[in-house]
């Protein structure tokens, strides 16, 4: 029997992976060949999707990007035996783009069948959870603190400290909430993990529950991710069946339950207090802090809120030790970051590497410049609230503090590349428009400021009192930064000001 892998990830499916999988199965059947098609997650080399892999005694050999029309010639060439073909890529794990990465959080994504519990266990699943059960919560939280892991959702708060706060809170009920409301344009790592390695995230949430004393978990995902939600719901069912969830987790006499809730198309619900309100069924209105959600979160109870990537990294940290994870990284940014390369890039996808590499290494190295072949002009790092960095600024190291120092942010690790046809005044206007459309409306600087921002940029672009309106826009940015309740209003000025600073000429046309 030969095993052929064709990704089930939505990105791969969006350009034909389902059709390719079907064509391979049909042709194998027609030729009487014993072939099993496994639908794995994606390796994250999206320019090679659909990437077909064949298991051979030399390892898993890749062919890509495969279209339905290529399937006949793959069979004719003998790809089931790893034969040569114009689309042959060799051993997938040895492709330099992939082999040079440090895959920790993403170590199983693309490798395993996402919903095959035994396959997952064979690749190290459950090691972290078993350690919590034997070693206890205090030791696990100590490991997490030692690892230096910071929240991967964007804020970068030390995860271990947050866990310790929730663990110390006294309450009859505590919750663990996984924030999977990945709304930032240019980010898709949460989705790929949900679709490609859901059991690892469930394991991380159970570890979190057992460590902080919570018995109920929720994952808040996006309605825009229908496939991820279906996969994750199926994974939850299997996890109950395998006693990773339930009233007696792995026979240890402890309880943890988990349910998925879908959002309803509101970017602001990625902000943690807004997410909690939405989980309670309410409008996603941001809350003032304090009180911290760690003390008064979901339904007023102590709640641990962490991002998908944070929680999915926990099992590896607990299994291998905090020191091992923290050994990689740069200054106060420890471990690896899952960068997501997108927009106008030749080679888009997932690059997981220790913090501290430069943006240039990502954009010119891994991404290979633009897909259009034109020069890179601007790179937006960290989502719609992140700064636009000019081509001359690509030598900045990617770590939390270095990015703040240039008035930017790492955010959730999204890197969106634009070529020289981009109009940066239009991008600045979009930043304000996005804020006006997605603001929860609770605080005035964000709700009204963003609308005034759009109007003011329109005046500048059409040459109305340009100098006065530029001064007004600068004042407005200061007000939004200092006066907004949450990151939505206070960070929207980042892309606007970076466009004004580095691309002033675009505002003078």
């Amino acid at each position: 029997m030969t095993t052929v892998y064709v990704p089930c990830d939505s990105a791969a499916v969006s350009i034909g992976a389902d059709d390719v999988a079907r064509a391979i199965a049909e042709r194998a059947a027609a030729r009487g060949l014993d072939v099993t098609v496994v639908r794995n997650g994606t390796r994250g080399m999206l320019w090679l999707e659909p990437l077909v892999e064949v298991a051979t005694d030399r390892g898993r050999l890749g062919y890509g990007p495969v279209e339905v029309g290529d399937v006949a010639s793959l069979f004719d060439a003998g790809f089931l035996d790893g034969a040569g073909h114009p689309l042959a890529l060799g051993v997938v794990a040895e492709i330099p783009w992939l082999a040079s990465q440090t895959r920790i959080t993403f170590q199983r994504v693309g490798v395993i069948d996402p919903l095959d519990f035994d396959d997952w266990r064979a690749h190290g699943g459950l090691l972290g959870l078993r350690r919590v059960i034997t070693a206890g919560a205090v030791e696990v939280i100590d490991e997490l603190v030692a690892s230096g892991l910071r929240g991967r959702g964007g804020a970068g708060f030390p995860a271990g400290i947050k866990w310790r706060t929730v663990a110390a809170a006294e309450s009859d009920q505590k919750y663990v909430c996984c924030n999977a409301d990945e709304g930032d344009s240019g980010t898709f790592a949460d989705r790929m993990l949900l679709e490609g390695d859901p059991f690892t995230l469930i394991e991380g949430m159970v570890i979190a529950g057992l460590s902080v004393g919570a018995t109920q978990g929720f994952i808040y995902s996006r309605s825009e991710y229908p496939v991820a939600n279906d996969t994750f719901r199926a994974a939850i069912e299997t996890a109950y069946r395998e006693h990773m969830l339930g009233d007696d987790v792995l026979g240890a006499g402890v309880s943890f339950h988990l349910a998925l809730r879908e959002g309803a198309g509101a970017y602001i619900c990625g902000e943690e207090t807004s997410m909690l309100e939405s989980l309670m069924g309410n409008r996603g209105m941001v809350r003032s802090k304090p009180p911290l959600p760690a003390l008064e979160g979901l339904f007023g109870k102590p709640t641990l809120v962490n991002n998908v990537l944070t929680l999915a990294t926990v099992p590896m940290i607990v299994a291998d030790g905090g020191a091992a994870y923290g050994a990689a990284g740069f200054e106060r940014s420890r471990g690896t970051q899952v960068f997501q390369l997108s927009g106008n890039v030749a080679r888009g996808g997932i690059v997981e590497l220790p913090f501290g590499l430069t943006l240039r290494e990502l954009v010119e190295g891994y991404a290979g410049g633009t897909r259009s072949g034109r020069p890179v002009r601007a790179v937006q790092v960290g989502g719609p609230l992140g700064a636009y960095i000019p081509a001359s600024g690509l030598d900045v190291p990617l770590d939390y503090e270095s990015m703040i120092a240039i008035n930017g942010m790492v955010g959730h690790g999204g890197v969106v590349v634009f070529d020289d046809t981009v109009d940066m005044a239009e991008q600045a206007r979009f930043a304000m428009e996005f804020c006006s459309r997605e603001s929860c409306g609770k605080c005035t600087p964000c709700r009204v400021g963003s609308v005034r921002g759009v109007e003011t940029i329109d005046k500048i672009r059409s040459g109305v009192d340009r100098a006065d309106n530029l001064a007004l826009l600068d004042d407005l940015c200061t007000l939004m930064t200092d006066g907004s309740l949450c990151a939505m209003g206070s960070l929207t000025p980042l892309p606007v000001r970076s466009a004004l600073t580095h691309f002033a000429e675009d505002f003078e046309r």
């Binding site: 990105a11 344009s185 825009e224 309803a264 198309g265 409008r283 997108s342 719609p384 070529d419 929860c440």
Partner: protein, 161 residues
């Protein structure tokens, strides 16, 4: 994914609400369940949800109008949701939107036969393979007008519209 839903009636709506598990007897999950069942949230459903959750009609209205997904009118047979956020902008989504508006329908509008509606969304998580769209819930990547029209045609054929 075919957008075919039963007609709304208060009795049918109440049945959907009665079937909600205890943990989902909250405003947003109740509205989502109704929309899943009927394709939209009928005005008559608002007091039913208020009664179920024991909140005011105003609070239900507030939730219904807060979330972009929730709609108060039935959807077309085929829905096209185009991503217009930054990563897709970098790959030409603005030009694609212009072409779609010329040849198919305006954003927020429908084709002249009413069978296809077009809307926009900020990010579908297919940022490295943009421009992207959801066509009746199915994610499409590396779109140009031809590929999008083909996807819409396939969706129409599938639902017989």
């Amino acid at each position: 994914m075919a957008a075919r839903h039963p007609d709304w009636s208060s009795d049918a709506g109440q049945q959907v609400l009665d079937a909600l598990p205890a943990g989902d007897r909250l405003v947003l999950p109740a509205l989502q369940a109704l929309q899943h069942a009927f394709g939209h949230v009928h005005d008559e459903a608002v007091p039913l949800v208020a009664s179920l959750v024991n909140v005011s009609v105003a609070e239900v209205h507030g939730v219904l109008t807060f979330y972009h997904d929730l709609r108060r009118t039935p959807p077309a047979s085929v829905t096209v949701i185009l991503c217009t956020a930054e990563a897709c902008q970098a790959n030409g989504s603005r030009a694609l939107v212009s072409e779609v508006e010329e040849s198919l329908a305006k954003l927020g509008g429908r084709t002249s036969d009413g069978a296809v509606e077009v809307a926009e969304v900020f990010c579908l998580g297919n940022c490295a393979l943009g421009p992207a769209a959801l066509v009746n819930g199915r994610l499409c990547g590396r779109l140009d007008l031809d590929r999008l029209v083909a996807a819409v045609g396939a969706a129409r054929a599938e639902v017989g519209a």
